[in-house]
Symmetry: C2
């Protein structure tokens, strides 16, 4: 299978697939013409990576997940540990974003949003202690 078809099947852009080869996440064969030739295992791996990326795993985490996937003697505890670390990262980011949202929302709420220059949002950004988003 050539790269464009693989891109359609896996949902990943061709550029991204080439990049994944460059960083050795996948190692497709080459045809006599120099074209990449993707086997079913490559396509499998790319779909796997696409889903893992969709869940927010970093490339390096994907690499470890793939290694665990390939290792038939793995302990599921190792996979779970990896996932739990990532879950905590996600939870942390959500918390940060919610704090930002709350702080900004209170400023926006206080702003008249009319033609006058007085603006609690700008005041909040200008004054120390007026914005907290921890």
């Amino acid at each position: 299978m050539n790269i464009k078809e693989v891109a359609e099947v896996s949902g990943l852009p061709a550029k991204t697939i080439r990049y994944y080869e460059e960083i050795r996440l996948i190692c497709p064969l080459r045809g006599a013409n120099g074209y990449r030739v993707f086997g079913t295992s490559d396509i499998h791996k790319l779909s796997f990576i696409a889903r893992a990326r969709g869940l927010g795993f970093s490339i390096e985490e994907c690499r470890r997940l793939l290694a665990l996937y390939d290792d038939k003697k793995r302990a599921s505890a190792d996979v779970k540990a990896l996932a739990e670390v990532h879950l905590r990262d996600i939870a942390t980011k959500i918390k940060e974003l919610r704090a930002m949202e709350a702080a900004l929302q209170s400023l926006v709420h206080a702003c008249a949003g009319d033609a006058r220059p007085d603006c609690p949002i700008l005041m909040g950004l200008a004054k120390p202690g007026a914005v907290c988003c921890d």
Copy 2:
């Protein structure tokens, strides 16, 4: 004031302050020795930027916020509009993260996390349709 002190006061790393000058967010004067000399207005701006960045505004949004802050004839509606766009971005990101969190959590929950290789997390990543995080 020299850069290190400004860094302490504003809470921004010196490197970042230099970067902000490079992209013309700020324009500190220079002393005879070539050192940057920060006036109170620079320090004010840097603190403003630090707070805006803390609320998740991009550099370009910070630039627009600063311009509005400087413009004494601004309409607060313009500031509010900027903030509301950003609020929507934040809300979108939170939604995406929560979808990821939910999908990953259900996989993690199904995983025994013991010494055996069987792993619903890997199965979920490998099988089409098993993971949804939209």
